[in-house]
Symmetry: C2
Subunit: 662 residues, 2 copies
C-alpha cells in the first residue's frame, strides 16, 4: 500500500530534545518512558510498538505500547547499560481487534452478525497466508468453522476465543503500518550522575597539623573520614596544577602578590608544567593516585576542575602560541570583560585554523586524567568556549568512557546553560544559589523539572561556592546555612557545598553588597577549625543519610510543589513511582522568625489512601505526627531546624488483617 | 572556516508547526513575527537576519533581526499575497560592533587603546578587501588614519564615526555566519479566513410566502437583506444536492419516511445526480449562480457543505462500486458506529487500490463548485476520512485558488482536530459549544490562543448547529442565547449561528437530556416567523456592527483573560498591536441572576496610561463610565444584557495641550 493511503498518524514522540538533535538523558536502570500521540480517522482500533536498541545494534527490541487517554500511547524500557540508546515508534490499524469489538457491540444489541463472521473468516484466511505451516493450518480451520452454521448460532464462542485472538495477534495485517519518521536518541548516564553529593575543598588548606604548611594530597587522605562521615560521595578539588607567577594575584584578589602568596589555582601553568602536571607542593602523581584509591574505599569519587585557560607562564604559551589570540603588537591577548582585565589569564582562541590541534590537545588533557582514574570533571566557565567544542569533546570521551560525568559551571543566561546541557554536560550548576523566595523557588524548579528542560538538564544545587557567598547566607545566620543546605539536598538529587567554609557558617564578605568571601581561599591558604562549636556538620550528616535511605530523594523530576497560604512556608513532595517511598518537605524560608501554616496535601495523588490517618515522620527531628485528610497544622521555628523532612508512613493492611505503618 | 569552528547557535525558530512539517497560518497583510534564540559563547556581539520569500521565488528578502531580551531575537514582515511563504534565519559574530563596544568601555575607564586601534585598522583593511573599488579606497584610508598618532590622541572620533560604522556594516565579516538548518513555511490565508461571521440556513425552509412550498434559491435571494442586515458575511447552506430515497429518514429521524418527507440533505445522491448536481426543487445551476452574485452584492460569500458520503441511490454506487467497501455477501457497507446503523449512508472506502481515482473525483467535485464561484467549504465530518487525504486535497485546491476557505466540522478528540487544522483546514469548529463555566472557557481558550495551537488552528465558534441544541440554551432562556452569541462574537474573530432557530431562541429538544432539536430541519421543512417578538436579531445586528468597527475583535490570538474574584463573571480584553483599539468584555455567565464584581485591569499592559481616569464606553448599551486605576465596579443583569463590551477611550494629550478621548 502506498504511503498516500496510510491512515495512521504518529506525532509528538517524546522525550525528544530539539526534535532529536540532542539525546534525552536518563540514568542506567532508570525507567525510560516513551510517549506518542497516535490516532487514525474514524473508529478503527490501533496497535503500536516501541522499537529501541543500543545505538549501533542491528536489531530493534520491540514492545507493545498502551493507550492511556486521548490518543496518548506509552511504553517503557529499562536500560541496563550506559551509552546512547535510540528509539522510534510504529503503529497500525488492528483490523482483528476492530472487528471483534464491533461485532461484540452488535451482538450485545442483538443484531445478526452472519456477514461479520464471513469477514472474520476472511481475516483468518489472510492471516493463514502470513503464518508458518502449522499455524496456517489452524487458522484455515478456524476460517472454516467461522463459516459454519454452528458459528452463526454461537458466534460469541469465536469472539471470546483466546486461541483465535492469539493467532491473529501473532500474524497481524501490517499493510496499514506507519513508522514514525525519526529515530530519537537517549543518553544513559551512570547512576552517580543522577544522584550525587558533592564536597568542594582546597587541598592546600588541609594541613591540619600545621597551619603554616601547604596542604598535600596526603593531608587530603587524612581528611577523608571527616568528609565521608558527613555522607559525601564526590570530593571536588579546584585545579591541582602548577600556578603561574606572572601577574599572580595576591590575597583578596589584589593586583600584586607578595612573596609567599600561593596564587589562584585557576591561573594554570608554570615552568613545572601545565594541565597534565600536579602542583609540586601538593605531592606526586603517585600521591594523587593514592588519594583516588583511598577515597574510593570511602565510597568517594574525586572530581577534578577543568579550567581550559593558561597563566602567561604555561608551557603552551611558548610551545603553541598559535592556540592564542595574537594582538597587532605581537602580544598575546589576555582575558578581559571590558573594562575588567585578567592579565594573569590567557584564554585559548578557538576560532582559528589551529582549532583541530587545540581540541585534540584538550581532549588529551581529559584522557590523561581519565587514565589516572578520574571520572568526574567540573568544567570551569564552559560558556566562554564554543558550544560545539564541548559537544565534540564530551562525545569523544563518552564513546570510550560512558561513565564520565561533566558538571558545567556556567552561571550565565538560561539558553546557553540549556545548550551546554543538551550538548553533553551531565550536570549543571543552577540559579538555586540566588533563589530564596517561595515564588522564585517554585517558578524556577517548575521550569527545571516540569517542562522540556527536565529531559536534558540535571541540576546540581550549590548554596555556596568559593566565588559566591550569597547575601542570604551573609545575613541569615546559622539557620540560613541549615535551610539552604536542606533545600539543596531535597530539591535536587545532586547538590554540593564548598567546605569547610559552609559547615562552619563562614559569612564574612569581602565587601558589603558583594559576594566574594573575605580572605578567600582562592588566593591564600586557610586553616580551618573543623570542631568549632557552630559547625552544622550534624545536620549535613543527617540530611545526607536521609537522602541515602529514601530513594524518592535520589531523583529530581519527581518534584511537586504544594500550595500553602503562607509566603514563608515552602512545601513540596517527592515519591517513587510505586509510592513505596513518599517524602514531604516543609521549609520555613525566613531564617529569623517562626511561621506556621495549615497545609492540605493531595494525598490521593501521592498514593496515600484517604479516610485514614497516617504517620508523618520527621526524619530530621525524629518526631512523629498523626495527620489525616483535609488540613493539617505545621509550625517551624528556624532556631531549632528550619526544615522538616517527613516520610509519610502509610497504614497498610496485611494479609492477616493487621495494620502496620510502612 | 569549517562548520566545526562555528560558534554561533540558532535555536527554536518560531512559528514552526511540528518543526516545520506543517505551515503556520497567518492572514494576508497580517504581521508575521519570527523569533529565534541566538547566542554565542563569551561576550561577542551578534548580528542576525531574517530571510523570507514566497515559496518558489529564487531570491530571499533579508531584514535585520533585533535582540529583545535573553538571547531572543525577532523580526517581522507583512505578506501582501496569499499562498505559502518560507523563512529562515542566519546570524554571525559582529566583529566590528564587538570591537567598538569593548573599546568604548575601555575608553570610559581611561585605558590606553592604541593596540585596539591597530585591531580596528586591520578590520578596516579586511573590509576593504571585500568592498567595491571606491568603498575599498575609503576603508583603506580609514585604516591608515586609525594607525596615525592623531587617532591615538582622539580615538573617540573613530569610535563614533557613523561613516566608518556604515562601511563596516555594509561589508561585514561573515566568516562566522551560521544558517539555521531548516526553512520553515507559513501559509498566508485570505482576510475572510481570519475574520468572518457565518449564518447557516436551510434553503428549503425559505419560502416565506407559502409554508407548504419547498424553498428555492430564489427565496434565498429574498432572504439576503435580512441576513446582511444582521451583519453576516458568510451564508452557509447545508448540502444542496439531490437526496436519496432508499432508507430515507422521516421526521425527527424516524426510520421510515412517509410520502412528502423531504429527507436529510446529507443523504446525498439520487437518480437526478450526486455531488455536482443541484436538488431540482432548489432551482437550477443558473439560480445558484444568481444567488452567489446577489449575495456578493450584499458582501456575503456563500459557503457550501461538502459531505463526502453517498445515499444508496447516488450514481457513484452503480458507476464506481470500487469506491465503497464490499461486504463478503456482496452488499455495500453502510455507515455504522456499532451498535448504531446509518443505512441511508454509504461511506467511501479510502484504503483500497482505487484511492487514486476516488481522490481525483472528490477534488473534481470541489473544483466544480469553485468553477461556479464558490470559495468557502464547510466540510462535514472530516475526521472520518484519512487525514493525509485532506492534506492533499486542500493543498491541491489552494495551489490554484489560495483564497479558498475550508471549515472543518470535526467534533472529536483534540489531537485529531489539531491535525486537521495543521493539515490545511482554514477554520475549525471547537468545543466552545459546550464550554459554559468560567474556568472551562478560560482554560480552553488559553489553549487555543496562548499555546502552540494558535499557530495553526483558527477557531470558529458556534453556539448552536442543526445537530446541537446545547442544554445551556435549552434551559437558560433568552438571556442564554444573547450571552452565547456575544461570547462567540467576541472570543473569536470567526463565529457562526444556525438560524433562524438561533435568533428566534428555539430551545425545544427532541428528548430531554438530548441535544437534537425537536422537529429538526434536518428532516422536514420549516416555516419561520422572522418577526416574532422574542427575536434577538437587534442584539445580533449590534454585536456584528461592534465587530466590524473594532479591529481588536477581528483577531483571536490577542485574547487575554483577566482574573475576577467571582465565578459568574468572565472578563477578557483584546487590543490591536498599536493600542489604537482596546476592547474589554465583561460577561455574566449566569443567565438567571444579576452578579457584580470589583475588577482590576492591567491597564499598563493594555497601553492605557495610569494615573488618569478614562472612559469605558459600553458599545452594547451605549452607556459610558468613568474608570480609574485600581478596582472598578461592575454589575450585570442578564435580563437586560448579559454582556458588556467596552471600548476603552483613552484621554490623549494633543499638540495644543487639550485632552480628548479617542
Amino acid at each position: 500500500m502506498t504511503d498516500l493511503i496510510k491512515r495512521v498518524v504518529i506525532e509528538n514522540v517524546t522525550p525528544a530534545v530539539d526534535n532529536g538533535r540532542f539525546p534525552a538523558r536518563r540514568a542506567v536502570n532508570e525507567t525510560v518512558t516513551i510517549s506518542a500521540d497516535i490516532f487514525v480517522d474514524g473508529h478503527d482500533r490501533l496497535a503500536a510498538r516501541l522499537l529501541y536498541r543500543r545505538a549501533g545494534a542491528s536489531q530493534w527490541r520491540q514492545i507493545p505500547m498502551h493507550l492511556l487517554v486521548n490518543d496518548l500511547w506509552q511504553a517503557s524500557f529499562i536500560p541496563r547499560e550506559m551509552g546512547i540508546y535510540e528509539y522510534t515508534v510504529t503503529a497500525w490499524i488492528d483490523r482483528f481487534d476492530t472487528w471483534r469489538s464491533q461485532v461484540s457491540k452488535k451482538r450485545a444489541d442483538g443484531q445478526n452478525v452472519s456477514v461479520e463472521l464471513m469477514e472474520g473468516a476472511r481475516m483468518a484466511e489472510e492471516a493463514a497466508a502470513r503464518a508458518k505451516k502449522e499455524d496456517a493450518d489452524q487458522l484455515n480451520r478456524l476460517a472454516e468453522q467461522l463459516m459454519s452454521s454452528a458459528a452463526a448460532e454461537h458466534p460469541d464462542v469465536f469472539l471470546n476465543d483466546t486461541v483465535f485472538a492469539g493467532f491473529m495477534k501473532r500474524y497481524p495485517d501490517l499493510s496499514s503500518q506507519v513508522d514514525y519518521p525519526k529515530v530519537l536518541p537517549v543518553r544513559i548516564e551512570p547512576r552517580r550522575a543522577l544522584y550525587s553529593t558533592w564536597y568542594e575543598m582546597f587541598p592546600r588548606s588541609c594541613a591540619d597539623d600545621d597551619p603554616a604548611r601547604h596542604g598535600t594530597f596526603k593531608d587530603c587522605i587524612k581528611r577523608l573520614p571527616y568528609i565521608a562521615g558527613m555522607g559525601f560521595d564526590v570530593l571536588y578539588l579546584p585545579p591541582i596544577h602548577p600556578i603561574g607567577h606572572t601577574h599572580r594575584k595576591g590575597k583578596n584578589n589584589t593586583i600584586t602578590a607578595v612573596p609567599g602568596d600561593p596564587g589562584s589555582p585557576w591561573a594554570i601553568g608554570a615552568k613545572a608544567g601545565g594541565h597534565k602536571t600536579i602542583h609540586p607542593k601538593l605531592g606526586t602523581l603517585e600521591d594523587f593516585r593514592e588519594l583516588l584509591a583511598r577515597a574510593r574505599e570511602h565510597g568517594i569519587d574525586i572530581a577534578l576542575d577543568m579550567a581550559f585557560q593558561c597563566s602567561p607562564d604555561h608551557p603552551y604559551v611558548t610551545d603553541h602560541p598559535e592556540w592564542f589570540h595574537l594582538r597587532p603588537d605581537g602580544s598575546i591577548q589576555y582575558a578581559e570583560n571590558p573594562p575588567k582585565k585578567y592579565q594573569d589569564i590567557y584564554p585559548f582562541a578557538f576560532d582559528t585554523p589551529h582549532y583541530e590541534s587545540l581540541r585534540r590537545e584538550l581532549l588529551d588533557v581529559i584522557e590523561y586524567w581519565i587514565d589516572q582514574g578520574v571520572r568526574i570533571f567540573r568544567v570551569d566557565n564552559p560558556h566562554t568556549k564554543p558550544l560545539r567544542f564541548w559537544e565534540w569533546l564530551i562525545d569523544e570521551c563518552k564513546k570510550a568512557y560512558p561513565e564520565t560525568i561533566f558538571l558545567a559551571e556556567a552561571f550565565t543566561r538560561p539558553k546557553t546553560m540549556y545548550r551546554l546541557a543538551k550538548g553533553g554536560f551531565t550536570q549543571s550548576y543552577t540559579y538555586f544559589t540566588w533563589r530564596n523566595l517561595k515564588w522564585e523557588i517554585e517558578q524556577y524548579f517548575d521550569t527545571l523539572t516540569q517542562t522540556g528542560v527536565k529531559e536534558f538538564l540535571w541540576p546540581s544545587l550549590w548554596p555556596n561556592t568559593p566565588d559566591i557567598l550569597p547575601e542570604f547566607l551573609q545575613l541569615g545566620g546559622r539557620p540560613a546555612f541549615i535551610l539552604r543546605l536542606m533545600l539543596a539536598a531535597t530539591l535536587s538529587s545532586s547538590y554540593g557545598i564548598y567546605g569547610p567554609a559552609f559547615e562552619l557558617c563562614v559569612n564574612q564578605p569581602l565587601d558589603p553588597g558583594g559576594e566574594e568571601y573575605m580572605d578567600s581561599e582562592k588566593y591564600e591558604i586557610h586553616h580551618w577549625d573543623l570542631e568549632a562549636p557552630n559547625t552544622i556538620r550534624p545536620f549535613i550528616t543527617r540530611i545526607n543519610r536521609i537522602r541515602r535511605e529514601n530513594p524518592a530523594l535520589q531523583q529530581t523530576r519527581n518534584l511537586m510543589f504544594h500550595p500553602v497560604d503562607k509566603e514563608e512556608i515552602l512545601c513540596f513532595s517527592k515519591f517513587t513511582d510505586d509510592f513505596s517511598n513518599i517524602i514531604f518537605v516543609a521549609a520555613n524560608l525566613d531564617p529569623h522568625h517562626t511561621h506556621s501554616a495549615w497545609v492540605q496535601l493531595p494525598f490521593e495523588q501521592m498514593g496515600v489512601p484517604v479516610g485514614k490517618s497516617f504517620q508523618m515522620h520527621d526524619l530530621v527531628s525524629d518526631a512523629r505526627y498523626l495527620w489525616h485528610e483535609g488540613y493539617n497544622y505545621l509550625e517551624i521555628d528556624p532556631g531549632v531546624v528550619p526544615v522538616q523532612v517527613f516520610r509519610i508512613r502509610r497504614r497498610m493492611r496485611t494479609e492477616n488483617d493487621f495494620d502496620y505503618f510502612m
